[in-house]
């Protein structure tokens, strides 16, 4: 309990809100709007899983929003051409992996700072997408919900996201590879001396985040009959915020995916599109401010604890 204090406190905050909703606004638990909300944020969870490991690895990637948009649009264009979902999914993931590899190559290969590299690729991909597509909607039509019914489609998406979370959370904890990521994040030089290959691991983390982003983009693209190309979707900061709220240290080496899961859920529940606010009688335009307050609170709590520990 003491060891994972941070994760537990986020979980407690989440639990508190969920209980409050159960007491004061039971209609929040109507399955349909809740499922829609969760489905809508499922891609965010997948990206946050990738982002968490990048941050644990002491890097950061602010290009995921652009990657997400590019993969989504490319996937949607293929769907529009009549490609089956099962063929488009790997293409989308591969494309994400490729763009992740470019980030990773520049960061791990040339040793450039990740925040600047991904800032540059963010701008480049976003503008390329704007240029080539001019923001025109893409028809996904028949492929909405993979061609299943809405309920099935939504469940598929949510379950996929949860499975990804589960695999990664367990892998990060119980596979040697997962521990290598922590090792690189907490002390790359020591990792090298211990016989690991920090550059390779860093590179792979970027590829992995790209792949997950490709997957997430695909899962977002099939949620509506048309896809709007939006490179400035703010996904990068949303994912980073969820990761930070979930207790992953921006300085690397600390945190786990269960905390990130709680972070994503917490921010989802209070997001401007969440029915929770409406049921609690809070105007939706307060959503962002509340999210901001939660992020700041998490940040301050971290600082406060560190400060207290020092003395």
């Amino acid at each position: 309990m003491k060891k994972h204090f941070r994760e537990w406190s986020v979980a407690a905050a989440l639990g508190f809100i969920l209980v409050a909703l159960a007491v004061f606004a039971p209609p929040f638990y109507h399955p349909q709007p809740l499922l829609s909300l969760v489905t809508y944020e499922a891609p965010t969870l997948i990206v946050a899983v990738g982002m968490a490991t990048i941050i644990i690895c002491r890097q950061i990637d602010i290009s995921v929003g652009s990657l997400f948009a590019v993969c989504g649009v490319c996937g949607a264009l293929l769907l529009d051409r009549g490609w089956p979902c099962l063929a488009v999914l790997p293409v989308s993931m591969l494309l994400g992996a490729l763009m992740g590899a470019i980030n990773g190559g520049l960061v791990a290969g040339l040793g450039l700072p990740s925040i600047v590299v991904t800032l540059a690729t963010m701008v480049t991909w976003a503008e390329a997408l704007r240029w080539l597509r001019q923001g025109v909607l893409v028809n996904v039509g028949h492929a909405q919900w993979f061609g299943f019914t809405q309920g099935e489609g939504q469940l598929t998406i949510v379950i996929t996201a949860l499975v990804i979370l589960l695999i990664n959370a367990v892998g990060l904890r119980h596979l040697a590879a997962g521990r290598f990521i922590y090792a690189v994040g907490t002390n790359a030089e020591a990792a090298r001396l211990a016989g690991l290959r920090p550059r390779l691991i860093t590179f792979l983390m970027f590829v992995r985040l790209g792949t997950l982003t490709g997957l997430a983009a695909f899962l977002a693209a099939v949620q509506a009959p048309t896809l709007q190309p939006k490179p400035d979707n703010g996904l990068e900061l949303k994912a980073i915020a969820a990761v930070v709220v979930g207790g992953v240290a921006i300085s690397g080496g600390r945190g786990n995916l269960w905390g990130v899961f709680c972070g994503v859920l917490l921010l989802t529940v209070v997001s401007p599109i969440s029915p929770a606010l409406v049921y609690l009688g809070i105007p939706s335009y307060w959503g962002k401010a509340i999210q901001g307050a939660i992020i700041l609170l998490a940040v301050v709590a971290d600082g406060w604890r560190a400060r207290k520990q020092k003395f």
């Binding site: 450039l112 540059a120 930070v244 335009y285 401010a289």
Partner: protein
């Protein structure tokens, strides 16, 4: 690790050449857009090569330029401020509220906005210095909260517009052919340049960027220096907000979205190390102008303006790689030289 001793280092020369290269890029941009984006008719000259076009490029990007200017000291200290765009917007909202809803005169409302910006910067500084938190996450938090507050105060929709001419002259009028806000910008630019390059404060920013603990051990009040950088950023962000509001004659909760990244781009392109310590204000100015001319010049040359963003990204990578490439190449060469063949491990020792 033995450190090489006598022989003047190359990093200074590299820094110098970085700015020269940037200047060359800027000149190349300017010349090519001059030829591709200017046309002469019997009525006169139109397009990129006119004073009006140049003035408009400045007017359109002066806000980002201001943010980039004050982002420079922050990045020199090894920090970052993601909240400047949000702070800029929130200050504007405060300005609008004070003027329209509290019926305050423009100067008082503007002062209120500047104070709001300073206070927002102060909040960043407080959290960073007092709780010793990484600036990236502190300002990520304030980034969301100030944007969120702006939306909450305006209910996501309220708009302040139709300011009096006594205010809009700041963004719309010119003196001696130069837009009014450019004078403001020049004053701020000179002030920031002097601060960074000619005062002990600027020296301290660098020292903090290189070694925060070492700076503290030298008896320099690190917290106060950091606070100055962040409060300055907040205040100037509010000033940028006022200029923006007067240029567009309106204030909405979406103003300044993404400006923080544009400002960071200009700073990094200008040769300031994202890890802190090295960098110059004139480099930032060059980086800012290079991006501004690129993105607007393309439109004059009837090229897609999106190309500007793409080229900025590529330029950023090139600028970074250029500084690091010689080192990487020599590393690779060294690795190739030693070969990568692995020999069999020796048999286990029997002792």
């Amino acid at each position: 690790m033995s450190s090489p001793t006598s022989s003047p280092p190359g990093w200074k020369a590299a820094l110098r050449s970085h700015e020269f290269i940037l200047l060359a890029v800027l000149m190349a941009e300017w010349v090519s857009f001059y030829f591709a984006g200017t046309h002469h008719t019997s009525h006169g000259t139109f397009g990129f090569g006119t004073a009006d076009a140049q003035a408009d490029i400045l007017r359109h990007t002066v806000e980002i330029g201001l943010l980039a200017l004050v982002m420079t000291p922050i990045i020199l200290t090894g920090g970052i401020d993601l909240s400047v765009g949000s702070v800029m917007c929130f200050s504007e909202i405060v300005f609008g509220k004070l003027w329209r809803d509290a019926h305050m005169p423009i100067p008082i409302a503007a002062t209120g906005a500047l104070l709001t910006g300073a206070a927002a910067g102060g909040l960043n500084a407080l959290l960073i210095t007092w709780l010793r938190l990484p600036p990236l996450i502190v300002t990520l938090g304030t980034y969301s909260i100030f944007r969120g507050l702006a939306e909450a105060v305006t209910r996501g929709a309220d708009v302040f517009a139709e300011f009096p001419a006594s205010f809009t002259f700041l963004g719309e009028k010119s003196w001696l052919g130069v837009p009014v806000q450019v004078y403001v910008f020049v004053v701020v630019a000179i002030a920031v340049w002097l601060l960074v390059h000619r005062t002990t404060w600027g020296r301290s920013f660098r020292a903090i960027g290189y070694a925060p603990e070492g700076t503290r051990f030298a008896g320099i009040p690190v917290e106060r220096r950091l606070a100055l950088a962040y409060v300055l950023a907040g205040t100037v962000a509010a000033l940028a907000g006022l200029i923006y509001a007067s240029r567009l004659n309106q204030v909405t909760a979406a103003d300044g979205t993404g400006y923080e990244l544009a400002a960071i781009t200009a700073v990094v392109l200008g040769g300031t190390s994202i890890f802190g310590g090295s960098g110059t204000v004139h480099g930032t100015l060059l980086g800012w102008v290079a991006v501004a001319v690129l993105s607007e010049g393309l439109a004059y040359a009837n090229l897609p303006r999106e190309l500007g963003g793409m080229l900025t990204g590529v330029l950023l990578i090139l600028a970074l790689s250029a500084s690091i490439l010689p080192k990487v190449l020599s590393n690779w060469r060294a690795r190739r030289h030693t070969g990568t063949s692995t020999s069999q491990p020796p048999p286990p020792a029997s002792t």
